[in-house]
Symmetry: C2
Subunit: 223 residues, 2 copies
């Protein structure tokens, strides 16, 4: 996959050595992130809201069951920014100054459009459902006419993007390595624990294997 | 603690039954969230960036080692929005339509100001270090004059905020409960694993107890 052009909009100015612009790296982060943070401007006020997302090619999809403030605004073609962040660890340096976190983050820019056709809506809803738990779409009851009409889907064509990644141990000033202070990394990851049956679950229905095997790590990027 | 006034800016319009406006609920989410997503507008372009944060009373602090685009802009008193999101589980309903996630999220509005005094900078840096790992400030090497001068700290006075929370099992349409489809919740949480020593760590330095006991859950809100 190719790179995004470096422009004023997506160029990483702070710690540029951590920046990456290739689609493969960026999309891997987008696909692994369970949720995203969508930013838009409403009457000069920036607003950030967490959203579920899915990616197909260079398009991001978002949805809502009603025409929310956000969906109306971003569906009208206003500029948006979407951040995807995977927190991988706490980085504890000897000096306060060099404390940090290990992370993989991507920031995407584009404009949103309301999806009108049933065909694209269904493709998007399948991707959104599969993003929650791969394997789920085929198992769950598909949307009916009424639900499809009540669901608003927004497509955001990714125009520009960048990734920023920090990995590895702390980087202290040379003189500080002799200090008697522990330094290192505390790894973090999003952990799934045992599925909890719906209290109203009919008897005799087992947890499906795609759920019992669910982990948030190691997801493959979409095509 | 009291409530934030409900205004056009912070009123939750989508699923308002999930909204909360009391400071205690909102600040508990802010304090537990390891990172935040900061939104601002730069030349009509919304931008969202992940940041480390800390809260003291009604003030949020952010910092950077250099005068980044973000810090310059938010330090100049422009409006900002900051989102804090804790993902607690995947909610798998029988119907695609009722799929969801369990979460606790807070969205905060305010304007940023550059912190000028050494005294407030140090208070903020202590809070930011303690937010990464409680107990760390007293153990690490404190900032020296050069580091303090090179560190930009932004204070954001919280003017308005709201929280949105979803908990519990899926809510399916009555007719769907009879379907032979598994439904329930997959709990998620941010898990710390065993600390990794810095490869350059001097011998004989053990992992401190505040690190080996580190978990991201159950943090107490700040005063």
């Amino acid at each position: 996959m190719d790179d995004f052009a470096r422009t004023e909009r997506n160029k990483v100015k702070r710690l540029p050595q951590r920046a990456q612009y290739d689609k493969e790296t960026i999309y891997r982060i987008v696909d692994e992130a369970p949720i995203s943070h969508v930013g838009f401007t409403q009457e000069d006020q920036p607003v950030v809201i967490p959203m579920l997302h899915a990616r197909i090619g260079d398009t991001l999809y978002f949805h809502g069951a009603h025409a929310s403030r956000l969906l109306k605004l971003i569906g009208a073609g206003h500029p948006m920014s979407v951040a995807f962040t995977l927190l991988d660890g706490l980085v504890l340096a000897r000096s306060v100054f060099h404390h940090s976190v290990n992370y993989r983050s991507a920031v995407v820019f584009g404009t949103g459009q309301l999806v009108e056709s049933d065909e694209e809506k269904l493709i998007a809803l399948e991707a959104l459902t599969e993003h929650i738990a791969p394997g789920r779409w085929a198992d769950a009851r598909q949307p009916n006419r009424k639900e499809l009409d009540a669901t608003f889907v927004i497509a955001l064509r990714i125009e520009s993007a960048s990734a920023k990644i920090r990995t590895g141990p702390p980087a202290d000033d040379e003189a500080d390595y002799a200090l008697p202070i522990w330094a290192g990394v505390v790894p973090l990851h999003l952990q799934a624990s045992s599925p909890i049956d719906d209290p109203k679950l009919s008897s005799g229905i087992d947890v499906p294997s795609y759920i019992s095997n669910y982990t948030n790590t190691g997801r493959e990027p979409n095509p």
